[in-house]
Symmetry: C2
Subunit: 267 residues, 2 copies
């Protein structure tokens, strides 16, 4: 299994938590983590290689020296590195046919096999989930806002069919769109761009399995007529996503999954 | 490390959760689980042997055929098997010098080495924690109620120095006290008896480390001037005890540790 991550140095600690949870709950896999970054220090990279090795995983990194996104919306919360997932099909080696992009604010609590084996229908090369039902921005508002007719996808988890993506994804188009975006009202810069450019090429996968928004347990429970209770989630959900500003590693308030997060964090 | 458990068939599922959490967080130990019971079926016992083996632990069982406690308070919540911990020093083989008794409604989330290596001062042969600060029955009420001058100990976790205990613990005295107890107002039958008979021989150990009452996160936080927050607990506490009637395996309401419990339950 190949996992793609794109973060700056601030996100190394949560990445390590994510990696531990992935490897502990998906042992005996041939797993490689691919990091696309723009200047993480050599000592930190070596530390990441060793850390991955200690969990039986490989670590590869690709440094982007060129500054593609000079004019883009870049803040502490939205660093340049977040746009690299858009360019991934063009940056990653041609030998890779498939990769699973994961945000670092994630916990893997079950086997990823079912997600990894997802079949892409004709015309689709990404697979992602929508938080429409439980999210605080409804799908219909986003459809109007971005003028699209598909679901509004969360880009924290994207399964990428790289072979198919390479035929469509165009670097110049991405760079132009990202740089142009500073003039437009974007709520979540990279996610809005992903949805506008690639929403139509994206297969929708169930968020309650592959991108569960950990803030909204009561909403998931209600929307599933009590089916998706804690027992169901812990035995079925693969990916818990700690979306939003309040991050569990910063001790900023608790939700029902915080103790589980901290367990992997301190393990 | 030797672990003592005493349960009936109803408690096999939570015992398995406890065992998983113990073995996962205390790997590479030479661990044996000792079960004292009064009639768990042969097929169930074989299943428990296999289950322990799959986690690298040994399983030994001692069946009590004699009905010691005919007249004792026995209900579904308080089965006869709960009294076996009182007789443990006399029932367990003489070759064992030390054992850690654990209730099955427990999660082990860190290494038990510090507890296991506890030194017993002169005159003490048990080590247990009190829930006085956070519990719903205060220590002072229990002292008056049971006419003792020591802490009221929770008997969910007891480290036993068997060599020392064998010199004091007397089977006839236990049986007489337990059988007599049906005439007295006991709130928690076995725990009251333990405290009355052996409280004075018991070394107090910190509950926030070795017998954390999972119902009372806010009380622990308050009583520690915010020191014992979730980060502290997850990195320091060895034993989380899911006390009280609402058990996490029965989906009866949630506390801050329920997701962690369910993770080990379904693992």
């Amino acid at each position: 299994m190949d996992i793609l991550v794109t973060f700056d140095e601030n996100y190394i600690p949560p990445f390590k938590t994510m990696l531990k949870s992935l490897m502990i709950n998906n042992p005996k896999q041939n797993t490689t983590f691919w990091l696309i970054h723009d200047g993480i220090k050599e000592t930190q990279l070596q530390n990441l290689i060793d850390f991955c090795l200690s969990y039986g995983a490989k670590f590869e990194h690709i440094c982007i020296s060129k500054n593609y996104f000079d004019d883009a919306k870049i803040t502490k919360r939205y660093p340049q590195s977040m746009y690299y997932r858009l360019l991934a099909p063009l940056i990653l080696p041609e030998t890779l046919n498939k990769i699973l992009y994961l945000d670092p604010d994630i916990l893997i609590i079950n086997k990823l096999d079912s997600l990894w084996k997802t079949e892409f229908p004709e015309g689709k090369f990404y697979a992602a989930a929508s938080h429409a039902i439980v999210g605080n921005i409804t799908s219909s508002i986003n459809k109007i806002r971005l003028d699209t007719d598909h679901s509004y996808f969360n880009t924290g988890v994207i399964l990428m069919n790289l072979t198919k993506a390479r035929k469509i994804v165009d670097a110049d188009e991405i760079i132009k769109t990202v740089n142009k975006s500073r003039d437009i009202e974007l709520i979540l810069p990279d996610q809005d761009i992903f949805n506008t450019m690639y929403g139509k090429y994206t297969l929708e996968i169930p968020d309650e399995l592959y991108n569960y928004d950990a803030r909204f347990y009561p909403a998931y429970l209600l929307n599933s007529a009590n089916k998706h209770d804690l027992d169901w989630i812990i035995s079925n959900t693969c990916i818990l996503h700690f979306c939003g500003k309040k991050k569990p590693w910063l001790s900023q308030g608790y939700n029902i999954f915080t103790s589980l997060y901290k367990y992997f964090m301190y393990k």
